[in-house]
Amino acid sequence: MGRPIKRIEVLDSERCVGCESCMFACTRRDGKASLESSRIRVRSIGGMERGFTIVVCRACEDPSCMYYCPVDALKKRRHGGVVLNREKCIGCGSCVEACPLSAITMDEEKNKPLICIYCGFCVTYCPHKVIGVERVENGSQTE
């Protein structure tokens, strides 16, 4: 058995306070202090009093982004989502356009798309259990 297959799950966005700790966590994992190039994003729904929405890759079983990659740099991951082959990727941004959730953005410095790897590091830093990690093999189960 390899590592368990996971995805990030939005448990309840109503509990989100908009602190963006998850975003800082994502970039910190890459060795940065920043909000820029986070793979998860928090946005207010037109005024903070109405609450927030969390935009993150939902690990689609049939991912739109993959079909629009002209160089096959995105491969379907077992049980949903995609894995990026950085060698093949030409940085065209087609996947960014293709994702209906706008869950992919470009790392402008490196000219590569930012694709969630479902590591769950962001989840550790959510103070109000807005997001969770869901195991997707052998049926769903939230950690």
């Binding site: 306070v17 940065k32 820029e36 103070p127």
Partner: protein, 584 residues
């Protein structure tokens, strides 16, 4: 070091021009925030300038730990205050700190005055002066925010600061609102924006910082994060600061009806507990703050003539407005309190000052010092919510002398009409809501911005209450001085004061080390003292002398939990404090 932190964006509103310069030493030596901000203010501001003159200068700054650790979420603003004529200093959160830092600056200096209303859009190095004539005179700061937001895009990553009608009308205690629910509240930053025809600022950017030791950085982050999300810091998330109403009421330190009383028979109604139970709609956070102390109440009002039409308003509440626009005015219904607070938000007025002013007006009216000729027919009375909303609106619209003076604070009113004995302010800044003992009043006198937060005397009072003892003036002066010095370090980094127990000098020292500042805890404290002294030297150049303080008689007439405030004790403490500042 954090290289881009050294960069200062200097905006000239007169010429609609800007330049970017480096001030490495300010940030290396003074950490940023209030420390670096003071250096910039000294460099650009003539301390004798009229606060309304185009030559008044605004500095907005972040610090060495901004963007790197949780709860380092504040921007410091410095300017010459149009409210009291001394140093204006006010802090705010929202997204402002992270946005300014991501834009790639440690500070922004704003000078001059625009010929037409503008707002300035700062997206990294792309700076534009945006036409704002159509936004001027707009009724509601929230509408202005929405318009600027739609134009800016980038939701979640940028800050939108703006002023309201109060600032345009040069009410001396107008605020700058950021992200609808946070404010540069005190001492009139909004007024300075207004006098410069600066409607607001939109700030965003994309920069990052790279710690040299990633592993150590993660460990340090975890240490801080875990402390921020556990007790006692967590209490700010639960009830928020509104949780203070009942404890202060039961210790008889809750100013009520213009400080005539110190407990309120309806405290239960205005308590954090009651608000949370029946009105709390959502809690939100400043960027990079896992605590989320911002409490937003939902006010649902029926339209009188239109059946089944309702207006739903969101109003953020805290202890301070609950005191100033609640207990201080004897308000007995949450709805009344929220309506007054909503008016204050709508026009961009400092809630604390507004409450103290309205409390003075009510007492002056009751005492016959002013009458309906002054109020243009309105009859203020403690507990009557509607008349206060009307008075706020009249203050903005009326041309009569009384309402004009109302827009300048209690001291201006008392100077014209009398009633200084119950005009609750020190050095022109209206009092906060703690009648806990002598220390809180001395904090308001000696503190750099005459705010309860400067040296937190209310907390010293409560400690003494628990220990059941008093301390000598010399010891009191030292305690207040040291606390204010430590807070200069926090306000230079710039850490939210709610995390003051998390960011001990030792932890700050370790955080800083990861980014190239080599300062031990003793050196940090020394830096704090140095900043405090420099701040007071700048105030001295503005004509300030702490020994010219005046204690409103009301303060001395009403007992605190530690007994009556003894004016000779205050005098001695102030003298010792001054000696600590200017010992050399």
């Amino acid at each position: 070091m954090d290289p881009k932190l050294n960069r200062v964006l200097i905006i000239d509103l007169t010429r609609h021009s800007y330049r970017i310069e480096e001030r490495e030493a300010y940030f290396r030596e003074y950490l940023g925030g209030v420390g670096a901000g003071l250096k910039l203010l000294k460099e650009f501001l003539d301390p004798k300038v009229d606060p309304f003159h185009p030559d008044n200068v605004i500095v907005l700054s972040v610090g060495a730990l901004t963007g790197k650790f949780p709860m380092v979420s504040k921007v410091v603003s410095l300017f010459k205050s149009p409210h009291n004529g001394f140093l204006g200093e006010s802090h705010a959160g929202g997204r402002s700190a992270i946005a300014l830092w991501q834009a790639g600056y440690g500070a922004i200096v704003i000078k001059g005055a625009s010929q037409i209303p503008v707002y300035v859009s700062i997206d990294g190095e792309k700076i534009s002066f945006v036409e704002a004539r159509a936004l001027w005179e707009m009724g509601d700061t929230r509408t202005v925010g929405r318009i600027m937001r739609e134009k800016a895009g980038k939701t979640g990553l940028r800050t939108i600061m703006r002023i309201g009608k109060a600032a345009e009308r040069l009410i001396t205690y107008a605020t700058v609102t950021t992200e609808t629910y946070r404010h540069f509240g005190r001492l009139g930053l909004g007024t300075v924006f207004g006098s410069k025809q600066l409607k607001g600022l939109v700030i965003s950017g994309k920069r990052s910082t790279f710690p040299a030791d990633k592993k150590e950085y993660k460990n340090m982050y975890d240490e801080i994060y875990n402390l921020c999300t556990s007790s006692p810091t967590k209490k700010y998330h639960d009830l928020g600061t509104a949780g203070n109403i009942l404890p202060l009421n039961s210790m008889k330190a809750l100013p009520t009806r213009n400080f005539k009383e110190v407990s309120f028979e309806k405290a239960e109604i205005l308590s954090g507990e009651n608000l949370a139970e029946h009105y709390l709609g959502r809690r939100i956070a400043c960027t990079h703050c896992p605590v989320g102390c911002i409490h937003i109440a939902v006010l649902r009002e029926k339209y009188p003539q239109k059946p089944y039409f309702y207006k739903t308003t969101f109003v953020s509440y805290d202890y301070e407005p609950l005191y100033s626009l609640g207990t201080l005015l004897g308000i007995e219904k949450v709805e009344d309190f929220l309506k007054i607070l909503e008016a204050v938000e709508k026009y961009g007025i400092d809630a604390m000052t507004m409450g103290v002013v309205l409390a003075w007006v009510t007492e002056a009216f009751t005492e016959g010092i002013i009458g309906i000729e002054e109020t243009e027919g309105l009859e203020p009375s403690f507990g009557k919510g509607n008349v206060y909303v009307e008075m706020i609106e009249k203050m903005l619209e009326s041309k009569n002398e009384f309402y004009k003076l109302m827009g300048r604070g209690v001291e201006a009113l008392a100077k014209r009409y009398g009633g200084r004995d119950f005009a609750m302010s020190y050095f022109g800044n209206e009092l906060s809501g703690y009648h806990t003992g002598p220390a809180t009043h001395i904090t308001h006198i000696t503190g750099g911005r005459h705010s309860h937060l400067d040296s937190a005397g209310y907390s010293i009072d409560q400690k003494l209450m628990m220990e059941g003892k008093g301390i000598e003036p010399q010891e009191m002066a030292k305690a207040l001085f040291e606390e204010e010095a430590i807070r200069q370090v926090l306000s230079s980094l710039v850490v939210c004061f709610f995390a003051r127990n998390v960011y001990t000098l030792d932890r700050i020292s370790r955080c800083l080390k990861l980014f190239g500042w080599d300062l031990g805890d003793k050196e940090l404290l020394e830096t704090g003292r140095k900043i405090l002294v420099e701040k007071n030297m700048l105030k001295r150049d503005m004509g300030f002398d702490v020994e010219n303080y005046f204690i409103p008689k009301r303060v001395l007439e009403v007992p605190t939990p530690l007994g009556f405030v003894d004016p000779s004790y205050v005098k001695k403490t102030v003298e010792h404090f001054k000696a600590l500042l200017f010992k050399s």
